[in-house]
Amino acid sequence: MSALRNTLDRLKPTFSKGGKLSALGSFFDAMETFFFVPKTVTRRGTHIKDSVDLKRTMITVMVALIPVFLFSIYNIGYQMNLAYGYGWGFWMIVWKGFLKILPLYLVSYIVGLFFECMFAQIRGEEVNEGYFVTGFIIPLIMPVNVPLWMLALAVAFAVVIGKEVFGGTGMNIWNPALLARAFLFFSYPKMMSGDAVWVAHKAGVDAVSCATPLSEMASGGMSAMSHSALEMFIGLIPGSIGETSTLCILLGAILLIWTGVASWKIMLSCACGGLLIGLLGPVPAYYQLIMGGFAFGCVFMATDPVTSAQTETGKWIYGFLVGAFAVTLRLFNPGYPEGMMLSILLMNTFAPLIDHLVVNANIRRRQRRVKTA
């Protein structure tokens, strides 16, 4: 391992200020800190620091996404197999699914990290690890047939307009991954919804039409549902790549709550909000939690610590409204069968307002104290 260290030490001057490749300094720094926790020591303030850093936080979210990721690979192959009747075995299904998902990840990470490094370089900061997670999530919330150039465009939009113009990770208003999806949703609606985008194409053949539970519910209520609740919970159904398996999402949720990375308050109140409005729908309320992107959004996207409400009271309100609005959109808006994305983005917008009200209550308490004193 000291060989790696020596190589990095030898290369460092080239990438440092004044070196030949100083324009790639941020990239080098990102690589170096990826392999080695830096040797910086505290200068003022506390002399010791907690061993946790953002890299650890982000990698934990990625670990929580692994069950979803693995299941997605299988489900892509499984849906292809089902639609075209290939008769593939387990490993063939996994292999085909893998081949389909690999280019999406390559595009997501290469384009995303390019812009992250570029902006870090311009600002003279270290590359933030937030994109580890964003880049991991973006392919999971896309339909499997999304063209790669479209994905690249969406990633660029999300990173540059959604995050970097505000100042980078920690300063953004909206969840960047959802912005990527929203960008495509409004720019290329044909490729993002309808019945033709959920099963991977076979070359030279027209897309297979395959309805998701959400569109079935929108078209005919309970009688049109072709999947049982258990099937929807397990997740071998059509849908965006990573959203289908509520079971795998729950596994991730357990890890996130256990480690405290994501707020259980938001998850719980979001589910409550969804269930409550779900009572008004044509299908049992709990269907809302296992259909479409509700579970995925609730666990992995509504809980983003930067764009969600940040006060503890605010989290309850924010989560509840995310769930309630999502199901409201599903049930009462004929235009969109899915409402989770728009609901989270809307509440991202309002999260600062919710926090403002909560913090204001604290301010008023303080001012009242002055008056009574």
Binding site: M1, L4, R5, T33, F35, F36, V37, P38, K39, T40, V41, T42, R44, G45, T46, H47, I48, K49, D50, S51, V52, D53, L54, K55, R56, T57, I59, T60, E126, N128, G130, G167, G168, T169, G170, M171, W258, T259, G260, V261, S263, P305, V306, Q310, T311, E312, V359, N362, I363, R365, R366, Q367, R369, V370, A373
Partner: protein, 447 residues
């Protein structure tokens, strides 16, 4: 009957190197320093020059704005050096201790007979006044103010902090005298907070509160926030326990005796121990307690102390030295290691929260990551048991928005109250510096 307050939020960092309750030795003073930098915002004016002979209790420098506030030499000897930094800023006055220790002889004081004015003058004359801190801002108290209360914390919860009851053995009479004296300074009350069942509960003349819970339950700022929070326009004073005993002793005996028990602690201490020493001693005289090549000498505790170096001096208010190993090493894929059992984390992202309360860690000064923006926003409130929204206050400080800072509670906090927030911050933000700058701004704008 005393009121009991139980705090849940906070963190006791399980740092290795606590001092066992026994006194290893008496360290005779050699070089001793008084540092104006220990007092926030102080502009000092020298009263002696290099080579002058001084006695213990003789004034070394005064506050330029309030010359009646004196800062005295803790031992007798000769002024060896007046250390100055950039722009001739006075950093320290170093006194070389003589063989025989001698104090200026003051009159003994009967507290009951003095009114506020007379007591203030007595304390100013004896150089005891700088031991009184004012909140808001954590500056030396203004003798002309009348505080709405004087607060004393007789509970040390900081990492490896000296045990309050142990270091105050045999000092109860002095403490009582100190409280009597403070009682003359305020028309309101003196408040004393301690552990339930401790000897301090028997002290008279102060309203006793008992506190329970992890650090920062012992921070006087947290206690004030729960007993009687500071509102805009109000002033309270605080005195630490060691200073209180010194005040009482000086008033009772008439001699300026700044001896105290100092805890030598930390993972890089060979044998952690208590030593008897005078205020402001040179750390070189306890250098033999350090082990390892690359040691950081911290005057105070690891959260709020100052890195003074092996030749530095103990701070004016400090009765603890923490010895730490410097963490200037690379760690391969440290953030990716599943276990990393030697590192401690408040979060549940490593395993230390399952390791039980008895396990201690030899933590070093590595930052364990690079600086980032605020991302994980809910961790700070978990270690700040006050009715304050930490991130919002910090952002108000960063934005220099005075009205917001006021509204969000800047008057109620000083740097030390945010120390744990800084420790647990995954973004490695220098939070105490932000608060400090915020307070500096308030001092400037409100003056």
């Amino acid at each position: 009957m005393s009121e009991h307050i139980r705090l849940k939020r906070g963190l006791d960092i399980p740092l290795a190197g606590a001092a066992p309750a026994k006194i290893a030795e008496t360290v005779a003073p050699d070089l001793v320093a008084v540092k104006p930098t220990d007092f926030k915002g102080l502009v000092p004016k020298m009263a002696v020059k290099e080579g002058d002979l001084v006695k213990a209790g003789q004034v070394l420098f005064v506050d330029k704005l309030r010359p009646e506030v004196r800062f005295c030499s803790p031992c007798s000897g000769s002024v060896q050096a007046v250390v100055r930094g950039d722009k001739r800023k006075l950093l320290a006055v170093v006194v070389k201790a003589g063989k025989e220790q001698e104090s200026v002889k003051f009159d003994t004081v009967d507290c009951a007979k003095l009114d506020k004015q007379a007591m203030t003058e007595a304390m100013l004359e004896r150089g005891l006044w700088p031991m009184i801190k004012q909140r808001p801002y954590g500056i030396v108290a203004n003798p002309a103010d009348s505080p709405k209360g004087i607060f004393i914390s007789a509970l040390n919860t900081a990492p490896l902090a000296p045990d309050a009851e142990f270091i105050m053995q045999g000092q109860m009479e002095n403490l009582q005298k100190g409280i009597d004296a403070l009682g003359r300074l305020t028309s309101s009350k003196v408040y004393l907070s301690c552990k339930a069942g401790s000897a301090f509960e028997s002290l008279k003349g102060a309203e006793i509160y008992t506190f329970e819970g992890p650090h920062p339950a012992g921070n006087v700022g947290v206690q004030i926030n729960h007993i009687s929070p500071i509102n805009k326009g109000e002033i309270v004073w605080t005195v630490d326990l060691v200073s209180l005993a010194a005040i009482g002793r000086c008033l009772a005996t008439g001699s300026y005796d700044m001896t105290r028990l100092v805890a030598v602690t930390g993972p890089a201490a060979k044998e952690p121990a208590y030593v008897k020493a005078v205020q402001g001693i040179s750390l070189a005289s306890i250098g033999k307690y350090a082990q390892g090549g690359n040691v950081r000498y911290v005057s105070g505790d690891v959260l709020t102390g100052e890195n003074v170096g092996a030749d530095g001096y103990l701070g004016y208010f400090d009765s603890q030295v923490t010895l730490l190993e410097e963490g200037d090493y690379y760690e391969l894929l440290g953030w990716l290691k599943p276990l990393r059992l030697k590192k401690f984390s408040f979060s549940h992202l490593y395993w230390s929260w399952l390791a039980g309360k008895k396990k201690t860690y030899k933590l070093d000064t590595n930052t364990n990551g690079g600086p980032r923006a605020f991302v994980v926003s809910d961790v700070y409130g978990k270690v700040l048991p006050m009715d304050i929204y930490p991130v919002y206050l910090l952002k108000a400080c960063l934005a220099k928005d005075i009205e917001k800072m006021e509204n969000l509670g800047i008057y109620e906090v000083i740097e030390e109250d945010f120390a744990l927030c800084e420790f647990v911050c995954p973004s490695k933000i220098e939070i105490q510096k932000i608060i400090s700058d915020g307070i500096d701004l308030m001092l400037k704008e409100m003056a």
